[in-house]
Symmetry: C2
Amino acid sequence: MTKNTTYKMTVCPMTYVLEILGDKWSFLIIRDMLFKGCCQYKQFIESDEGMATNILANRLKKLTQHDLITQCKDPNNGRQKLYHLTTKGLDLVPAILHLIKWSGKHDSETLLSEKIMHYLEHRFDDAVDIVKQEYRQKCHVETVN
Amino acid sequence: MTKNTTYKMTVCPMTYVLEILGDKWSFLIIRDMLFKGCCQYKQFIESDEGMATNILANRLKKLTQHDLITQCKDPNNGRQKLYHLTTKGLDLVPAILHLIKWSGKHDSETLLSEKIMHYLEHRFDDAVDIVKQEYRQKCHVETVN
DNA sequence: GGGAATTACTTTCATTATGCAAGCAATCGA
DNA sequence: TCGATTGCTTGCATAATGAAAGTAATTCCC
């Protein structure tokens, strides 16, 4: 199949992803895990956006039920739970980076640095690898320490 | 900047895109425009998902205000309006295709054909081009006829 | 060992969004 | 000119959301 072949993309369902992530908060939770290293309830609450506690609990449960994240007790502090992205969750990285790229391109007040923007535009696949790799390292450090 | 350079992706805002598209319906409207060729109010209403008329009107207005779509009168039928994606709207194609790809991969009941799935996995950039190209052709035909 | 602090929720209740049904105005075809 | 089509808008019942307060389990500190 070459690029010039007419290839009708007719049936393209996306209700599944919208069922799980079709709201304002779910994507932000995953973004905070990826880029801010959030893995505790407290950290999400303290994050910029000001999510209500009940909404956070609701979304963490939903994301867990759909196997995008896992919950486990912090071995060093029984009060705390640790939340981590699963492989299924990490699979969202390309989609999320495209959404971020789009935001950076079309939001005149974006906080996205030109450096990162440039990287997303010219080395997208590398960016995906880096984000995943950094996340896995972060996770490993946090769960082992 | 090579792939091996540690490149911290720390500031990655996506509130802008979620402000506009952070709900169940907005993405579906754009998907219907891209893949089902919907460009009239009626067509969106008749589409699978069963969107309420007030919600549709609300979302079309919002997407228009944010310049993702344009509205114009059908020159051949004054009762009808035609809705079309702008360049800014079409810029969402990569993100949407990744969301569709993710849905196809992780939804056990997906309707996405293996053929398209394979294409999304191995020729993603071509898929983006094809979808955009097909949409532009469709648009041209519809607005000129 | 006991009281205060921390963490992760849950509950309550006011506000907002959604969804269905019906209505309305402009346009068109006969 | 009259009914049908199209693209909305309105009213109202129901569901989701959000702020504030409460709760239970654990840990820290003396």
